[in-house]
Symmetry: C2
Subunit: 388 residues, 2 copies
């Protein structure tokens, strides 16, 4: 463990089948006007909307709705939400949905009382908010992004073909999040599986970086093993509470800053995936799965020791009689086989990318410098081509 | 992952070689009168006391000292500290020391404005505080108890031969803790090693319980592997920053509630060890090491599957060609060999316990019901005898 760091994660989590009871404990702490933020309306079909409305009314709240948050929330939608929140004099934002809805709620939180160009300030210049924040709480209905316990907010700008995440400080974290694994049962399998890979990718982005021995990497290995095990059950039996609850809990700890503490991180798979997403509007987790194996095969020689460790500690590869390269590749073989069995999208052409769009996707790809190899433009294009 | 739970851990951690810089960021949030709590005076020899005093003065604080906190802080000392804190009109308690000093500071926090018999209220009846609390911050100089990021407070009552821990709620957690691994370098090896086993025991107490598949157990395995690895380095090279910092970070996460979430826990080794401690005043971690192997050998048949998992996932035992009992015992063999190599006390006679004191120690042992076997009085005596 090297380096100085601070750790503070004040989000209160209510977890389990009765988690929504926590909402009544939290609501009295905040003002009367609630901006209720949600997505495409699935919460109206599965009954979660009604349950939340009932609790809000029982707590004497005034409800102002802001539905229709899209899977990749846009800056235009943020502007629209800011206007609604201002008109409502919102005291609190309650996000009911998946990571996109939480991300969007955080973008509103820092923008409602902010002057100036929000896109430029937060997503181009990465400035910290200096205005008054409107507090956020989450009722999670989809698992993957970890947005329920962190400061992350990913927003898409279609005009600029950019999808960019800002990781805000702890004052922007949700004050509380409600995590009921059963709320995720009605999600289509495609979305569940995409979420599972989003979790895996979050862990790997933090794991495949650095050469020091580090407690964070051991914890990451534990989370990965739990995820792999529970995903195998959930894919066959999506209503298995044990599996779905382990996946939900793993998602939270995969991206709430813990396993990045004291170490460097990569995030290049997310940069590639987000660029694919900006050009195709594909499901986030599937953009990550589609580029991961080509990316990791490419950087393997530059981080060989870590890929050997990954193969042995996470995938149970027996290194006896193998060269390090063979062990490392056997780990990626096992990962690839698991991904295929899980039903993940394994190439970007399936998401709508073509030979002709590679150039544009490559141009939209931000380059990170924490991984085992800092990619140049040619390498990015080559990895994207290998992902077709 | 089963059951409903809440998770909230608001303690802010400053970690690393520059961690003490965090003190100046935190102090302005609190009032002028600081009760500075510390132990036997080692912080005056190693310079930490001077550094802290300088920062307190630079922040314009009025300092009231309460030194001499013993390794097993007594209820008499708590009463004395309460009187000092009242006289000082303490706005904040700064604990500089190990877990005992943090535990003591938390006991003061809940007692200064409390009416009635503190021992009975908190350590016999386990009531929650209803009085105004005096906030606590920690500068950690010894690693093991995890007290820096939880609500635990273990206090000894010599008159009643009892050593009892109360785990208070999040409002009693330290507001911040300063974790500089270098501050632990001057600790004698005996104390360092005792702390390492205290960490291991915390993890095992939460691991050896329940039969469900659970993310918490995977994270526990990761923490154990990191601890075992770093301890092997630290025992040979105590000033190895990587090893000492990994151990410090593992200690915090071993007992800040995370790895107990959604599962049952045991804590019987701590009950046995605390009873030994109440009768011998021995170092906490060594009372745990001295009873662990006999306890785990005894309960192994009742939790066989978990002991097999422990052997394979934590100690790398190859189960091929072995019965489950053989695999499980091979895990405990590996643990025992590692403990001996680490320099841990392996029997309670070395701590001052005798055949004649067994009866009294057994009587002081609280019985927990979360482990694989609820012990009766005869079994407790038998395990203590096997620990002699």
């Amino acid at each position: 463990m090297l380096g100085n760091f601070t750790y503070c994660n004040p989000t209160k989590l209510y977890f389990g089948k009765d988690a929504l009871d926590g909402l009544s404990k939290e609501l009295p702490k905040y003002g009367k006007n609630i901006l209720l933020v949600y997505g495409g309306g699935s919460i109206k079909k599965n009954g979660i909307y009604d349950k939340v409305i009932k609790i809000l009314k029982a707590n004497g709240k005034e409800i102002f709705e802001d539905g229709g948050v899209m899977p990749n929330p846009t800056i235009e939608k943020v502007h629209e939400g800011v206007a609604r929140a201002k008109a409502a004099k919102a005291d609190f934002i309650l996000a009911v949905g998946g990571g996109s809805v939480c991300d969007y709620a955080k973008a509103l939180s820092v923008s409602i009382h902010c002057k100036g160009d929000i896109w430029k300030k937060y997503f181009i210049d990465f400035e910290e908010p200096t205005c008054e924040l409107v507090p956020v709480g989450c009722v999670l209905t989809m698992v993957g992004t970890g947005s329920e316990m962190n400061g992350g907010s990913v927003i898409t700008n279609h005009a600029e073909k950019l999808k960019i995440g800002h990781v805000f400080g702890e004052e922007v974290y949700p004050k509380f999040s409600i995590l009921n694994p059963e709320f995720t049962y009605t999600l289509p399998k495609y979305q569940m599986v995409a979420g599972i890979f989003d979790i895996m990718s979050h862990i790997l982005e933090q794991y495949f970086s650095g050469t020091d021995d580090n407690t964070s990497d051991y914890v990451a290995e534990g989370l990965l093993r739990s995820l792999i095990h529970s995903a195998e059950i959930a894919v066959v039996d999506p209503n298995n509470y044990d599996a779905r609850s382990n996946i939900m809990w793993t998602a939270t700890w995969a991206l709430n800053t813990l396993i990045a503490k004291g170490k460097t991180t990569d995030w290049m798979v997310h940069m590639l995936g987000q660029a694919v997403g900006a050009h195709t509007d594909a499901t986030h987790g599937m953009t990550l799965s589609a580029v991961s194996i080509p990316y990791y095969r490419y950087i393997l020689p530059y981080g060989l020791d870590k890929f050997v460790r990954y193969a042995v500690n996470v995938w149970g590869v027996n290194p006896a009689g193998k060269t390090d390269e063979e062990t490392a590749n056997a780990g990626l073989d096992a990962m690839q086989a698991w991904m295929e069995k899980t039903g993940l999208v394994m190439n970007i052409s399936e998401l709508g990318a073509t030979e002709e769009t590679i150039e544009g996707i490559a141009k939209s790809t931000l380059v990170m410098d924490g991984g085992y190899k800092v990619l140049d433009a040619k390498e990015i294009k080559s990895i994207l081509k290998a992902s077709l």
